[in-house]
Each structure stands twice: as C-alpha cells, then as structure tokens.
Amino acid sequence: MLLRGLFWLVLCQLLGTALNVLLIPMLPGPIIGMLLLFAFLLLRGEVGEPLRQASGSLLKYLPLLLVPPAVGVMAYAEAISADFWAIAGALLLSLLLSIAFAGWLMQKLINRQQRRRDA
C-alpha cells in the first residue's frame, strides 16, 4: 500500500521534472508534480488509501528531510553576519506587519460576507 502510494508520488515528481525541462523552466519539478497530483485528486474527487499512507508518512518526516539543506547555512555564515541587522530587522518587521494585516483583512472580509448573508 505504502509502496504503491510512493510510486505515485515519485511518478508525479518525474513527470514534473520532464515538464520543467520541456515547458516551464521557472517552476521546480516537484512543484509541477504537486500541481499534477492536485489536479488528479480534483478529477478523482477523493484520496485513495495508498496515497494517503505514503503522503502521510513522508510529511510526518518532513522536518527530518529538511535538516541536510538547513545545515547548508554553515557554508554561508559570513554572508549572513555581513548583513545581519538588515536581515533581522526586515524579517521581524515584515512578519509583524504582514501577520497583523492578514488577520485584519480576513476578519473584515468575513464580517462583510456575514452582513451580506444576513441582509
């Protein structure tokens, strides 16, 4: 079951990679693969058990898979320390502003939709 799901995931990624080279060079192969799988699920209308198992177990270990690329930061320690304050300031400020804006906007839109339904 797990292997069959894994096969579908790998197949989607391989197709995505082929499409990336052939047609859409600005989108990474795995992302195209994800869109393909999403389109397939929309057509099918449900998630099969093999796919549910495979994606569930892969996503459960996603943090582990992210460790090796994250370690790559050791190769860029100098670049980061050179721009440290610019980076820290931009990250913190933009995060605070955008989190507040996103919440405020969604709340406003929900209120408006509710008012319209009531009317």
């Binding site: 795995p30 994800m34 994606s55 582990l64 898979l65 931009a90 989190i99 929900i110």
Partner: protein, 238 residues
Amino acid sequence: MTVEWHAAWQALTHHPLFGVGITLGAYQLAMAAYEKTRWVFLQPVLVSMLTVIGILLACGLTFAEYKDSATALTLFLGPATVALAVPLFVNLRRIRQLFWPTFITLLVAGVVATALGVTLAWAFGAEHIMLMSMAPKSVTSPIAMLVASQIGGIAALAAVFVMITGIIGAIIGPSLLKRLGVQHPAALGMALGLTAHAVGTARALQEGEECGAFAALAMSLMGVFTAVLLPLAILLWL
C-alpha cells in the same frame, strides 16, 4: 597503532552513510528534547541543524562532504513536496463556505508579506542574493528552498529565514492578532498559516480545529502561489 586508529576514524567519517547517521541521531535527540519540553524555541529542524553543524565542525568535515553523504535523505524532499497536494486537497474540500474571503486574503496578504520582506531588507541594505533568499520566507521550507534556488538565492539561507519567521510568528502571532480584535478562528488561522507556515499551523491547531484547518489551507495555498507566481514575478521584474 595510532596510524590504524586514524585510518579507522577516516573510514568512519567518510563513509557514504555518515551524513545519514548523524542526521538521524541528531533529529531523534531534537525530537525527544522538543517533546519533553514543548518549548517553541526547540524547533526540531533548528536543533538538529545546530547539532549536525557541531559534529561536522568537530570532525573537520565540510558541508560539501556532508551533502554527499546525506543524499539518501535529501532525495525524498521531491516526493514530499508532491505529497503536499494531499492535505491541500483535503482542506480545500472542507472550506467552501469562506471561499472568497480566503482567496482575497491569500492573494493580497500573500503579496504584502512577500513584498514587505524584500523591500525592507533592500531598504536596510542587504545584498541581492540575500533578498532572493528572503523572498519566500513565509512559505513552508521545501517550497521556499526550491523557489529560492530557482530565483537566484541560497536554499539553505531560505530555510533559515523560513524557520526564524515561523518560530517568531508562532510565538507573537496569536496575542498580537487578539489584541487587534481578530476573533474569528478562520481569520486567526489564515494569518498564522499564511505568514508562519508549518510552525504557525502547529500553533493554530492548539487554538482549535477550525483555526488549524484554515492555517493548513493558507500554508498550502501560499506555498503553491509562491512557487508559481514568485519566479514569474522576478522574471518579469528583473
């Protein structure tokens, strides 16, 4: 004898599985520490990263060598990214009612979050390669890393920015939003998932089922939109 000790040590640290071994070990230590304390700063990826870097420095290994010996793990990042389609699909079906508020917030606030980060970093004088690594900071790391390398940034840096953004967002987000009068669980969830991706989603789940579902939706959609639109936008803009 000392010569043979040295040879054995060399064989061990340069074995093609050495990277996988220390990563698995570090990750389990980090997970154990996180589960015991539940402390937000002890994000498993962050702690494992620091542990692995420490081991590599102690053994005198470079990142390039580690990268080669950890390929067995990184190969699965692609299929894991594809697998994100499943939670996206499951969530999309769940949330039909609030379709338009969700869609508009996603587009407008998503653009604001991305543009604000890049503009501020640019205004503060960061270099181009830093800007490109910072652009996808609000999306979940696999997508952010792919997108960053696609638009001329550094995948590893993007992962670090993503992690920092997520952790700070999860710590400050909920109280900030409540102070601003944002009460609807869907709005709380959207804001957390949109800006603070997986870490924000985990935080949103603590607020309740609906909040968590919207956070997961916002995270997945923000990821897809960023992956599709950001490289296009950069391509047109530069």
